[in-house]
């Protein structure tokens, strides 16, 4: 230690006054800055610029959903990666397995005499008088009475699923059914299901084959292409099928 305890430096006493005087004397920014070399001021600006630039280029657009700093997301892209869209075949298979295999079986062949098959079924593929809307109607409201599927006769009751499954789930499961076990048919969209649901929202009874045959044939592409076209509304009164 350079000084003993007895020699108290005057600086300690006057620290506050001395420095306050310096502050008061160099009140203006300019004078204060002159105490620093002008090169240093430039360096400070460069540092501030670097910091701000780093923040700007690595901020991911200041979005809470961007976690990768390399992603410059000023264009409105909110997510860090491509959101994995639900695959209708995967979702549809899951719903089918959870709800439909009890009757229609995992292989889509049904039970002869009891539950109609879905594989190769003209109802599913939208051939003959059947359109895309008919299978949507069946899933929404159910089916009862005598029906003919692939030349065989069935007379049973299918429960309605309109209240249990949402539009996108119905679309997914029908897309799955239409493209499995050798079936090949265009997918059903959830907008189409919503449209069909809206058409028959008052219905409470299951359909019969006769009632369905009275409804005109609608396809998903037609409906998408000409949304203004009004579909013929079916008779709301439910008559027991023959």
């Amino acid at each position: 230690m350079t000084e003993g305890p007895d020699n108290i430096s005057p600086q300690e006493e006057d620290l506050v006054e001395q420095h306050d005087e310096i502050l008061r004397e160099s009140n203006s920014f300019r004078e204060g800055a002159e105490l620093l070399s002008p090169w240093l001021i430039i360096v400070f600006f460069v540092i501030a610029f670097l910091g701000a630039g780093y923040l700007f280029w690595n901020s991911g657009g200041f979005k809470a959903s961007v976690f990768n700093p390399a992603r410059v997301a000023w264009d409105g892209a909110g997510t860090g990666g491509v959101a994995a869209a639900p695959d209708p075949m995967v979702v549809g298979k899951r719903i089918f397995t959870q709800n439909c295999v009890v009757c229609h079986q995992q292989n889509g062949l049904g039970v002869p005499g009891q539950f109609p098959p879905l594989a190769g079924s003209e109802w599913v593929l939208g051939q003959d008088w059947q359109g895309d809307n008919h299978i949507v109607q069946i899933v929404l409201h159910g089916l009862q009475g005598a029906v003919t599927v692939t030349g065989q006769q069935f007379n049973n009751v299918m429960a309605p699923w309109g209240k249990v499954l949402k539009d996108d789930q119905i679309a997914a499961v029908l897309t799955y059914v239409r493209n499995s076990w050798g079936n090949k048919a265009p997918p059903i969209t959830k907008e189409f299901v919503a449209k069909v649901r809206e058409q028959t929202k008052e219905r409470t009874e299951a359909w019969t084959q006769k009632e369905l045959q009275a409804i005109g044939r609608e396809l998903v592409e037609q409906a998408a292409a000409a949304p203004a076209e009004q579909a013929p509304s079916p008779t709301p009164a439910a008559t027991p099928g023959a």
């Binding site: 809470a64 990768n68 390399a70 997510t79 995967v90």
Partner: protein
């Protein structure tokens, strides 16, 4: 205002800026997140912990595992974590939704544990590793956690819980077996549950 009052006010105001910017923002944007439903699998992500695994978090915290192990897979800008197969994708905030606390860690004295449940699904391996890490992984500098286990005489049949394959200096002699205590059991359940291989909308796609 006096000089002191000005200073106090100024410091408070500046402190509050960062407080709102970091803490307030984190609470509002990250602290109220919900798990998301994955349409493809019908599962909720991140999945909830089983009761054992939730208890295991306490043991993980109590023994300071976070002092040596991280649980974050960093994104490609600053790391090769995904290339090193530490996980199928970088982790995001929502992954830690159910963690209490979030064991992000800050050092890799030991390997990253984000997806250790994917690398091994054998509870016995975990038990053996906790009991004698330097025998299971030669060259490891992980200390032994044998105080989480009990050595006892085999009564009749060996317990199904007994840790098998122990070869180190504290391996049980003939007639003795090493069984995990409750703490070890829940800790291993927690480690087995560490998997972040589900997709999340804001995360990178799975590799």
């Amino acid at each position: 205002m006096s000089k002191l009052a000005q200073l106090v006010f100024g410091v408070f105001a500046v402190f509050a800026i960062a407080w709102w910017g970091v803490v307030g923002y984190s609470y509002l944007q990250l602290g109220r997140m919900q798990p998301v439903l994955d349409e493809n699998t019908g599962e909720v992500n991140p999945p909830p912990f089983s009761g054992l695994a939730a208890a295991g978090q306490q043991v993980y915290a109590a023994n300071g595992c976070v002092s040596c192990h991280t649980q974050q897979v960093r994104s490609g800008a600053f790391s090769t974590d995904v290339e090193k197969k530490l996980g199928p994708r970088p982790t995001v905030a929502r992954d830690y939704l159910r963690d209490a606390p979030a064991f992000l860690g800050h050092l890799r004295i030991g390997p990253d544990l984000t997806n250790v449940g994917l690398r091994s699904s054998d509870p016995n391996w975990f038990h053996a590793h906790l009991y004698e890490p330097q025998t299971v992984t030669p060259g490891s500098n992980m200390p032994s956690y044998r105080y989480l286990y009990r050595m006892r005489r085999i009564a009749g049949q060996p317990s199904i819980e007994a840790v098998t394959g122990l070869k180190g200096p504290y391996a049980p002699q003939a007639g003795y077996e090493v069984v995990p205590t409750e703490q070890a059991r829940v800790l291993v359940a927690y480690l087995l549950s560490l998997k972040r291989n589900y997709p999340l909308p804001e995360a990178e796609p799975l590799q």
